[in-house]
Subunit: 416 residues, 2 copies
């Protein structure tokens, strides 16, 4: 029951997690296997049995498979209760194996934020992709239609008249009728503003010969990390209001509105209150991170403990010679500059700054649980999972302290 | 004369750069070539002639080759004047082609911060590597000695007695005598503190059968970005003081002290004032970034304009529908969260925030030079070059607006 592992403050949460998870403790003698070394004796992505987490070279990106699978099961069960399926965002994990697991366990498909990310997923056997970003160039539009040609379940977002016309032309060239959703903005980032303009765009798409309108998507990035459940709920339902009206207008205009997709991990238990909503684009729930832990849960707990943090980075102590501090081998290139800082499991008194490119700098705010030596290991919960995953070519799947799989992060660096 | 292109403030600097560099202007019609598409018709890393920067898919990491080569020539000439060679840090570019160019134009070798980075350089034909970080595990020590076995110019930093003993044992196992420098700390990050402890470690290394002491390194990461030349100079010479004394102590003890390496781009014109100093570990000078532009130059200019910003990211406008702002396709996964924010070339009134993972958010502080449409391009100077390079698998070498080469960033993600 991961939800019970975590107390009501970051500090309690971190020490509680360590106390209850004995296998977080990492002994010193390490073999320091690289991913290439593990793969040399592996069967596909399955690592030969018996290799411990502590045998990995560091920094290493690890996912606790029991926790991740539990998080996925929890999300599927919760959304089933709310009557909405999930369409998880692959921008979080960028890993085809995980996308396939999500779909196999009940998700209706995945989302991709970038075209090159979608291409990486397709190249590794993932189907049922909703491309949530409009492609702003003709070459990207052509590539998107190439995916659609071989994968009829591919759906492309559009948010502009010219973009829709270009898309229809590219679909015609590819000999297909392409499935399209309108990206209706929440806030000022991507998408066309809610209202008559969005309706007109939907009507245009409906008339274009090589496009098939499927509905809309509306993602509110800003509200996901709003602190406190009631505050988050109020904001989420308020910001989605104009989009609900637009969705209704489109329906009344006789348009095909099968899809009203949006939401995220922070609003997974809120979006079913939105009239017409069809599926939730949850992303971080399977990994969790310090940012999401801080948003608070529906029970009023200051820690958002609906899902357990499964994604961690293993790091090694490089220096212990200066009072009340340690240097580690995981800096900004391994953990990014996101805040809150990484959380050191089992050491709530350690403040971990990754502001140096190559090194982590730990300050003791209270004395640590032991005398750390050079070569000792620490394991940290990452600040913000998506960009951290994007730093690594491989992710290790760990079960009960044993390395079970090495996954390629196929979408890593696919920012185009 | 790149130094004359930049005025005394960020704003003047950015508009001045644009005015003088007409080829920064990027027309709209784009082919959107991916790196794979360019390579398909390339001869090695040389792209077939005639492809424009504006033909690249975005976000794209670009380096202006004329500017980079000029920066390298300026650095080589300056350090020659000061009587010190450079030993540039490959953690900045992580690119073997650039490392080779630096060595071919007079650098005595390169530095690597991580062992996997050094392995990537060696695997791509780079020799003369100073591994500036001690390797904290036996497996890493063994791998380092594997490099040393085939590359006699490889030098390894050590900062601890046990580490030195392990290194000597691994060197013995590899059948070699390994070259070693002591990492003597400046500040509290890596290395052994200056003083008797460092001397004792050097003496131990001198007595260990399979190690050969070559000297010390002392890198002060903190002082590189200290603002104002006089302030920087005072701090740099003060913080290095105890290390100079330690170096002298080691010399007096009869130890072999061929190397006293350290310094960086911010102190390239300061470190020659340090008695005994032998070479400067400059890194960012060839690319530059918003952080280094802000530190101020010896002439008193608020902009550090000794070197021209050659590293940029091309990005595409994704949304222009909301007042006084634009959304682009380069967010934190393309530009990192470093500050100052990316500088939009030719648009000093644009404040570019990359705080969203996938999208850049531009706010207009003054009206832009034109009415930006979806699909238009912008080019930005990166916030901090090292971690931005680490986000990309490829870097495009641009000369006079034409794509000349596609370089693999072989050290990308090599954080182990």
């Amino acid at each position: 029951m991961p939800a019970k592992q975590f107390g009501s403050s970051r500090r309690t949460f971190l020490s509680g997690a360590a106390a209850l998870s004995a296998y977080f403790w990492i002994p010193k003698p390490v073999k320091g296997y690289t991913a290439a070394e593990l793969r040399a004796s592996a069967d596909g992505d399955r690592v030969r049995p018996g290799i411990s987490k502590s045998d990995l070279d560091t920094p290493a990106l690890c996912v606790d498979l029991d926790k991740m699978e539990k998080n996925i099961a929890t999300m599927q069960a919760s959304l089933r209760k709310f009557g909405l399926p999930s369409r998880p965002h692959a921008k979080t994990h960028k890993c085809a194996a995980i996308a396939k697991y999500q779909i196999a366990t009940g998700s209706i498909g995945i989302c991709c934020a970038k075209l090159s990310e979608a291409e990486a997923m397709v190249a590794n056997g993932v189907d049922k992709i909703l491309m949530t970003t409009a492609n702003p160039s003709r070459s990207k539009i052509r590539r998107a239609m190439n995916i659609r040609k071989s994968h009829p379940s591919f759906i492309q977002a559009v948010d502009e008249e010219q973009n829709a016309r270009d898309l229809s032309a590219a679909a015609k060239e590819a000999g297909i009728v392409a499935d399209v959703v309108i990206d209706v903005a929440v806030g000022t980032r991507s998408g066309i503003p809610a209202g008559p303009g969005a309706l007109a765009l939907a009507q245009l798409v409906d008339t274009l010969p090589n496009l098939k309108l499927r509905g809309i998507l509306s993602y509110d990035g800003g509200v996901q990390h709003a602190k406190g459940f009631e505050n988050r709920k109020e904001r989420a339902l308020q910001t989605i209001g104009p989009n609900v009206e637009t969705f209704e207008m489109m329906k009344k205009a006789g348009l095909n509105m099968e899809i009203f997709s949006g939401g995220g991990t922070g609003t997974y238990n809120i979006m079913h209150l939105t009239p017409g909503f069809t599926d939730v684009q949850v992303g971080s729930y399977l990994f969790m991170d310090m940012q999401y832990l801080a948003i608070g849960s529906e029970t009023g707990d200051a820690v958002f403990n609906d899902f357990a943090p499964s994604l961690t980075v293993l790091t090694t102590v490089m220096n212990n010679r200066f009072p009340d501090r340690l240097t580690t081998d995981a800096g900004a290139k391994a953990l990014t500059l996101n805040t809150p800082n990484a959380g050191v499991i089992g050491e709530p008194g350690m403040d971990y700054s990754a502001s140096s490119d190559e090194f982590g700098a730990i300050r003791f705010t209270t004395p640590p649980s032991k005398d750390y030596k050079i070569g000792d290991r620490l394991e940290v919960i990452v600040p913000h999972c998506d960009p951290v995953v994007n730093e690594y070519d491989e992710m290790y799947g760990i079960r009960k302290d044993r390395v079970e799989v090495v996954w390629q992060v196929e979408g890593r660096g696919k920012s185009q």
